[in-house]
């Protein structure tokens, strides 16, 4: 809300007072506001206020060519942009009935899993910072940066890859890239012990995170929560395994679960998932040299491409949960409608409001980060 639009409310006399978290707050991955009402240290009411990162992507996408939107969609989620472009490409491929070459599918898996590792490292860092521990924050951001270096070499862009297009991926991997990926995975794995000592098994963190923001499985299902937040309540659901896309059916990985459903359990699920992602990347590194063939299939001239009329709902597992793209074509050279189902739009609004309420004021930022809420996905 702009300052000139603020209207003071005359509250009846009480011990409660209002506190604004955000729109600029270090405990939030982006601009998002949470207006909480506190009595003493206890939050009695919370109201999520979004829209600070609304850039009208869905409207913009209706005004741009099918191929131009590839450059637009990664911006919908800054910490984990790769699933966006893969999911959009998958939706367009389903409408136009384009077969993606096998090699391209493996390369996409490599891109998605590297992005997931980077996003989880970023979340660990942010979560640590909200509990007052700043070293893991620097570590998380620094280690994520090493993966961004890989992305720079791999796709040309550190954050926004713009590497996919309907029908495949843009270019071949650089010389010796898989060895460097392999080395980096070894490095990240060797760092996990340090992370355990300083963060995951740290008594300060465990005491702060245990029992905070508890989400029961029934409530999570009712609220439409997906991803690590759902798995932290004990339900082993993963789109990669249960609604498989690309070549995930051929890969060997576990779906880690925890039972407690609190901030601690959610962090442990993400840590276990990072290990699984390392496993997947190693499998891709091993398999990719033997998989030949093209990197993309033929598509019509993308600058004058009338995608046949139709609709499709593509979904992938992003680091935050189930990401869906509902794309409608009327046979024109621009999409008729693109609807983005950001995973955070579930857990960053209704769930966050209910989890924060009744908790303590110092746990608000931690709850938000432990849910891994990504505001740009909500605002789009």
């Amino acid at each position: 809300m702009r300052a000139e639009n603020y209207q003071a409310i005359n509250h009846p006399p009480s011990h409660a007072f209002e506190l604004n978290f955000g729109p600029n707050h270090p405990g939030i991955e982006g601009n998002y506001a949470l207006q909480v009402k506190v009595e003493g240290d206890t939050v009695v009411q919370a109201h999520a206020d979004g829209g600070y990162l609304h850039r009208g992507f869905e409207k913009l996408m209706e005004q741009r060519l099918w191929i131009q939107n590839i450059a637009l969609v990664p911006r919908i989620c800054v910490p984990d942009p790769s699933p966006m472009e893969v999911c959009y490409s998958m939706a367009v491929e389903q409408i136009a009935d384009i077969e993606v070459p096998e090699r391209a599918q493996w390369v996409r898996v490599l891109q998605l899993e590297l992005s997931r590792i980077a996003a989880h490292l970023f979340t660990f860092g942010g979560h640590a910072a909200t509990t007052g521990m700043y070293s893991p924050m620097f570590w998380g951001v620094a280690d994520r940066d090493l993966i961004l270096d890989l992305f720079e070499e791999f796709t040309g862009g550190r954050v926004y890859s713009i590497y996919n297009l309907p029908g495949g991926v843009r270019r071949e991997l650089p010389e010796g890239f898989l060895q460097r990926v392999s080395k980096m995975m070894d490095y990240i794995e060797s760092r996990l012990q340090d992370y355990d000592d300083l963060f995951f098994a740290n008594r300060v963190f465990v005491r702060r995170a245990k029992g905070v923001g508890v989400l029961q499985q029934a409530e999570a299902l009712e609220m439409g929560v997906t991803g690590p937040n759902l798995r932290a309540t004990g339900l082993p659901f993963d789109v990669r395994r249960d609604d498989p896309y690309l070549v995930y059916e051929q890969l060997d990985f576990e779906v880690p679960v925890e039972e407690a459903g609190d901030a601690w359990a959610r962090t442990l699920v993400r840590r276990a998932e990072l290990v699984e992602s390392l496993k997947i990347v190693r499998q891709v590194v091993k398999a990719l040299p033997d998989i030949g063939g093209a990197l993309r299939s033929e598509i019509p001239n993308p600058l004058a491409w009338n995608v046949p009329a139709g609709e499709s709902y593509a979904r992938v597992e992003s680091s935050k949960g189930e990401l869906g793209y509902y794309v409608v074509s009327d046979g024109g050279e621009k999409p008729w409608r693109v609807h983005v189902r950001g995973p955070s739009s579930m857990h960053a609004v209704q769930v966050l409001e209910s989890l924060v309420t009744g908790g303590r004021i110092e746990d608000v930022a931690q709850t938000m980060f432990s849910l891994d809420a990504c505001p740009p996905e909500v605002d789009r």
Partner: protein, 214 residues
């Protein structure tokens, strides 16, 4: 319609709900599309959620079909038991733009209905909260409607500013700073609109100039 080859839940739904049309089903790819008259949505949702395990509402998508004066609402349901995605398509007239909320069955609908109301102006009766969420300070028409032309809105609402500072004049005088007017850009959204800030007037685009720059 032959029901052979459909799973029991799909057969049961088809028999029970009036007017239900299965317009596409690929159980291998875990996708089923159902078209339905708008009146029967709640009975279908009750059966799907209560008996066949479609507990997860993945999304509600709204599509504006302005030519026929209808909104298409698509309810994407997922069943953790069947591992199937069910997309239910219904059509609602654009005018008067009211429909029933399903938030009592699916809590996530609260977010999506609020979003659709904000972006398309379709009101859901019985919804939790129809207040603005994203466009809090927006007073214009619902922007995702097809008749809302964002470029025309910008043209009407904002004025172009003359921007010609000293440093730019120096660059132009030295032979740099060629601006391709929007009317000549290949994929411009503003194709055919003359540049209002006087780019052409400042430095006419002749063939030799552009060749030099390239």
């Amino acid at each position: 319609m032959s029901l052979d080859g459909f799973t029991p839940w799909l057969q049961a739904l088809t028999q029970r709900i009036e007017g239900l049309v299965i317009s596409g089903s690929d159980l291998e790819k875990r996708r089923t599309r159902i078209d339905l008259p708008a009146d029967h949505l709640s009975s279908l949702l009750e059966a799907a959620k209560g008996e066949f395990g479609f507990v997860h509402l993945s999304a509600i998508s709204c599509v504006d079909w302005i030519d026929v004066g209808e909104f298409e609402l698509v309810y994407h349901l997922w069943s953790y038991e069947q591992n199937q995605l069910l997309s239910i398509h219904i059509r609602v007239p654009r005018e008067p733009g009211r429909y029933q909320s399903v938030v009592d069955l699916y809590r996530p609908a609260g977010f999506f209905e609020r979003d659709i109301h904000e972006m398309y102006g379709l009101y859901f009766e019985g919804a939790l909260d129809m207040e603005k969420f994203i466009l809090t300070e927006w007073n214009g028409p619902p922007p995702m409607r097809k008749e809302f032309d964002s470029e025309a809105f910008v043209e009407e609402t904002f004025s172009w500013q003359e921007y010609n500072p000293q440093w730019l004049q120096e660059i132009v005088a030295a032979g740099g700073g060629v601006v391709t007017p929007p009317s000549q850009q290949r994929f411009s959204q503003r194709k055919g609109i003359e540049a209002p800030w006087g780019a052409e007037a400042r430095r006419p685009l002749s063939d030799e100039n552009t060749e030099d720059q390239r």
